[in-house]
Amino acid sequence: MDGVEILLVEDDPRDAELTLRALRKNHVVNEVRLLTDGAQALEHLTGVDGQGRRSPRPRLILLDLKLPKVDGLGVLRAIKADPELCLVPVVMLTSSREERDLLESYRLGVNSYIVKPVEFDAFIEAVRQLGLYWLLLNQAPGAAPEL
């Protein structure tokens, strides 16, 4: 059984390493799957296995905005348009604080929009709060099916 709980979609390996480290540092022990472009993410989220079953929904999706192939907004649009996936919280984790990205993300139904701080300690803190909120505090409807 694929126990992926956090799906991290990030094309920059350095940013990915920082994020993974930040998650580890904050004792987020949930299994994290790293995917490096939007097409991979969609394939993973909507693909079916040999028995025609879809992979279990992650509890949280951390999505970069600028991604190869399908960009973050494209992935977000697809997730929110999919009745199976639309309940999974999606957090934009991005470098851009441009108003139009924010607006578009919220229009598409993003659950959070976090600008990754350049400063490492601030970044760790942001990931800590994010993990705490979305994995512990927040109650999501129809969260990952009980195993």
Partner: protein
């Protein structure tokens, strides 16, 4: 002058020829002229033997003058319309060029916002990882070097953020709110103090006229000017910032005065440029974008800003804006 003429050779052809053949014999040609320019001729004719009387000639001349005037006015009108069309075409063209330039600027700022920050985060993050994972293997000098690296990334991050906010001012659509400048100044001051290590700086706030403009951008003006005043008052004998304002000659003026470090008036013109510092970075931190932003915001509002000061005697920044507070 007798304008009446008998048929000539030339009259045997063209319209004259036809008139002659139709039985006309007497002709009266009156020039259509306006301001020295010959526009044409008015030709009157009647049967042979009936001459045009002086009174009739006079009437013909008056009619011709009116006609000339009408023709000329018609032509002027056409010309004006042609110019207007040309002007409109040029405005459209310039607007298109301007839009293209704006879009380019926007794309540039967008790219800066996305692409320049990522590597910076890696530099800071990986330096920190080195420190965390291998700190014990590093001697104090190595750790100091890492500190310099991290300090520089923070500074670069701040520079990028400030440049972006500067470009945002240029791109933003301007709101026309009625802005309570007293509230803005007071709140901005409190905001500034909240970031100050030693917040023992006083604000003396006089009555300020309302302004007509973009609340968010004007708040930024106050924040930057008051931020500077507080910053440059550090270590001064009197740490007091005075804010005053009033109306004069259809403008509103506002003033931020401190008794801090001041500046050499010889360099006043450099204050509002981007990345200009009149103080070393070891004395007062800052990216050198704040006043450039102030000037840009005020220019977009049709206003301006000037600076007066003297080394060790404080600085005064005064800005003016068109008075819009009286309007309904």
């Amino acid at each position: 002058m007798d304008l009446s003429l008998g048929p000539t050779d030339a009259d045997r052809y063209g319209v004259h020829g036809e008139l002659v053949r139709a039985g006309m014999g007497e002709f009266l040609h009156v020039p259509l002229a306006c301001q020295g320019e010959l526009l044409g001729a008015l030709t009157l004719s009647r049967e042979p033997g009936l001459t045009f009387l002086p009174r009739e000639q006079e009437i013909a001349r008056q009619v011709a003058d009116h006609m000339a005037l009408a023709i000329r006015q018609g032509r002027l009108q056409e010309e004006v319309e042609r110019h207007a069309r040309e002007l409109e075409r040029r405005v459209e063209e310039r607007t298109r060029q301007l839009q293209a330039a704006n879009e380019e600027l926007e794309a540039f700022a967008y790219s800066v916002s996305h692409d320049l920050r990522s590597p910076l985060r890696a530099v800071d993050g990986f330096s920190r990882m080195l420190e965390e994972d291998h700190g014990e293997a590093l001697d104090p000098e190595a750790r100091r070097l890492l500190g310099v690296i991290r300090g520089s990334t923070r500074r670069m991050d701040q520079l990028i953020a400030d440049l972006l906010s500067l470009s945002r001012v240029a791109r933003a659509d301007l709101q026309r709110d009625v802005v309570d400048m007293e509230t803005q100044a007071r709140d901005a001051f409190l905001e500034v103090l909240a970031h100050e290590q030693d917040p023992g700086c006083e604000l003396e706030l006089g009555a300020l006229p309302e302004a007509r403009g973009d609340t968010r951008l004007l708040r930024q003006v106050w924040r930057n000017l008051l931020g500077n005043a507080v910053k440059f008052s550090r270590g001064a004998a009197v740490r007091r910032v005075t804010v005053a304002g009033g109306r004069r000659d259809g403008s509103c003026w506002y003033e931020v005065r401190d008794q801090g470090a001041g500046f050499d008036p010889a360099y006043a013109h450099k204050l509002f440029g981007v990345f200009q510092h009149l103080h070393g970075e070891h004395e007062f931190e800052g990216s050198g974008v704040g006043l450039a932003l102030v000037r840009r915001v005020l220019r977009r509002h049709g206003g301006q800003v000037e600076a007066m000061g003297e080394v060790g005697k404080g600085a005064t920044f005064r800005f003016t804006m068109p008075d819009g507070g009286e309007e309904a």
